[in-house]
Symmetry: C2
Subunit: 351 residues, 2 copies
DNA sequence: GAGTGTGACTGAAGCGCTTCAGAACGTCCA
DNA sequence: TGGACGTTCTGAAGCGCTTCAGTCACACTC
């Protein structure tokens, strides 16, 4: 245990024979002292094993920590295995890192979002929230701490920066595409509407009380075109295996849907697999569309027709907004990203 | 700008009419004061908008920050898009989160690893390093700060906890499997040997001077069986498209290799694709093996023969080691995880 | 009634750093 | 020669919290 006490600014100061302020300046304001002295200080510091000002103490004194927090609605596991999350996170990370900020991860739990105590303990100057349920306690915790907040894919919150995507419009485009191909019997596959782990056909009441904005909007877009009676299969996450389960459920219905609308590409990949396993040809027997246009969508078999959203850009914008808020900027207008339909080979007219 | 000054412990203390120490105890040591007073304090705090002790100040006073740092050899983008990284990170994250610790991400850059200044500024009590090049400056920066360190897939470092996998043995198993099937003409696909972006056939000198332990060991395992003259195609990362490029390069050689040994599953998936595009049947015309056994390996076409390593467990162990070091534990023996060969359908005897 | 606990609360000393208003000392020009 | 100015360095006041050695009052025991 008891490591030898680490050197501090004072240690260095007295070793060199100058004041602590001067040593601090050597690190933070080179223009405040002569080059020679600075050199001497840095050398001495190195020789006694001083690694520079302690980040925590510095944060306390300066009242900012050069870190941006990232809150997630799901376990990190889910986040990393879902390209739609990890690509966003990547855009965010590269932006903040370019500005010498760290990224502090606050993973969520079953109830959708980090525990408030996690939020209360994390050292961050600003936090970015992604795919939390509406009214997640973590959101309140952030505001209670008075930290600036930027949300991605989240409903409008007062005094909060925001990046958003036209999920409903995108979903509508996908559905309209299928309808224009001549489909009339649809099935919808969606990830969680509520963070309660439900899996199965979602009754209308569930649909209308969804607390995840993304699910809600994509679903609304689909149903606006296909009609409110379209069967909706809900699964508790955006994973291939869950998509497969859902597709199996839907493709067993009779009459069988001729088109499957999936709330994400991962779900759609699962649907593709399920169709194959059931001996159904895609798009011959059943058409499938996804949402996101993750990189793999062009390599699936068949390549997936899907709604493209700019995932990296989403993270990047969130990062820029966070940085702007840090500089005391105002939230401003939400940053809105476009969606486009990408037609590939998983859709065709029904037989 | 100028937000109203935030309430502190003192604000609450004088509002309630007790000492600051008592308010602190209300949060951290409920047994040190009467339940009634504690209640009163917490209520008052809530009413004046005090969100609990400031994490930074607390860290300074307690001298630990409840955060574990994670250093990565690559950009975060690469990390998240590579399952072999993201699954490890997930295991790590869930472990530390379960212990009320945050994860601070320190992404690397082109030169392989976070900048030393990033390391110097990050508030963390312990750091976990993954797939950095040997002798990365970031490693020195950690030791300069006197932080405990745990490394994954990294050479032995004095006084450092470590989790490791028998990469060489695994690679050898994969190669031996092919050889026992009767193959004699091999090609090897590896991700970066040096963080310099090189792409192409790697001359022997490059191979022997590799600075990434994982590449080096897997390569060594392959070549120990296939012979030192086996052509090695190096690409600067573990991605499908790069695997495709490499496989194209290798499959154009004459005589054409009948078996491709890939340093990762992602590279192997790319190889599968390249073979298809060149009109070659797998495993009829060419066998392909991967390394990692990521979840998709069972769903590729054909399902991939590969070397399984326990990725989640790897992250989990790293997390446990980190936590143990935090408690003042000693590094102890390295934690070694097993590898096994998983035979699927991408390998067969040569024609 | 003196002695012994015990539970509840406080005072004050830090944790390691930044920052700002000077002090000290030259230099330079009028 | 003296004042104005620059440069270089310092003293001291925080930043918001934890913690430890007490103090105090009030039972309780013999």
């Amino acid at each position: 245990m008891d490591r030898p006490r680490k050197p501090t600014l004072d240690t260095v100061a007295s070793a060199v024979g100058v004041s602590r302020a001067t040593v601090s300046n050597a690190y933070n304001r080179p223009d405040q002292l002569s080059a020679a002295l600075r050199e001497r200080i840095l050398e001495t510091a190195a020789s006694i094993g001083y690694a520079g000002p302690d980040p925590v103490a510095r944060s306390l004194a300066t009242r900012h920590s050069a870190a941006v927090g990232f809150m997630l609605g799901q376990q990190l596991s889910a986040a990393f295995s879902d390209p739609a999350v990890s690509i966003v996170l990547d855009g965010l990370a590269s932006t903040v890192d370019g500005h010498d900020h760290c990224l502090v991860l606050m993973p969520g739990n079953e109830t959708g979002g980090p525990r408030p105590s996690t939020v209360a303990r994390a050292a961050a100057d600003v936090v970015v929230a992604y795919s939390l349920p509406d009214n997640a306690p973590a959101l309140d915790a952030v505001r209670a701490r008075g930290l600036p907040l930027v949300v991605i894919d989240q409903p409008v919150l007062p005094d909060t920066a925001r990046v958003e995507v036209d999920d409903e419009g995108g979903a509508r485009m996908a559905a309209a595409h299928l309808r224009s191909l001549g489909h009339v019997r649809f099935g919808v596959i969606t990830f969680g509407l509520n963070p309660d782990g439900y899996s199965g056909i979602a009754p209308p009441a569930r649909v209308s009380s969804a607390v995840f904005r993304v699910s809600r909007d994509r679903l609304a877009g689909f149903l606006a075109v296909t009609g409110p009676d379209t069967p909706v299969f809900e699964v508790p996450g955006s994973r291939r295996d869950l998509g497969r389960t859902a597709a199996r459920g839907l493709l067993r219905l009779s009459p069988r849907p001729t088109a499957l609308l999936c709330a994400s590409d991962e779900l759609a990949f699962g649907a593709l697999q399920a169709a194959g396993e059931l001996g159904l040809d895609v798009p011959g027997d059943v058409s499938v569309v996804g949402f996101d246009d993750v990189p793999f969508a062009q390599h699936s078999n068949p390549p997936l027709t899907t709604v493209r959203q700019l995932l990296t850009e989403k993270g990047r914008r969130a990062g820029e907004l966070a940085l702007r808020l840090l500089d005391g900027g105002r939230p401003g207008e939400p940053s809105r990203l476009p969606v486009t339909l990408v037609e590939r080979d998983s859709t065709a007219p029904p037989e």
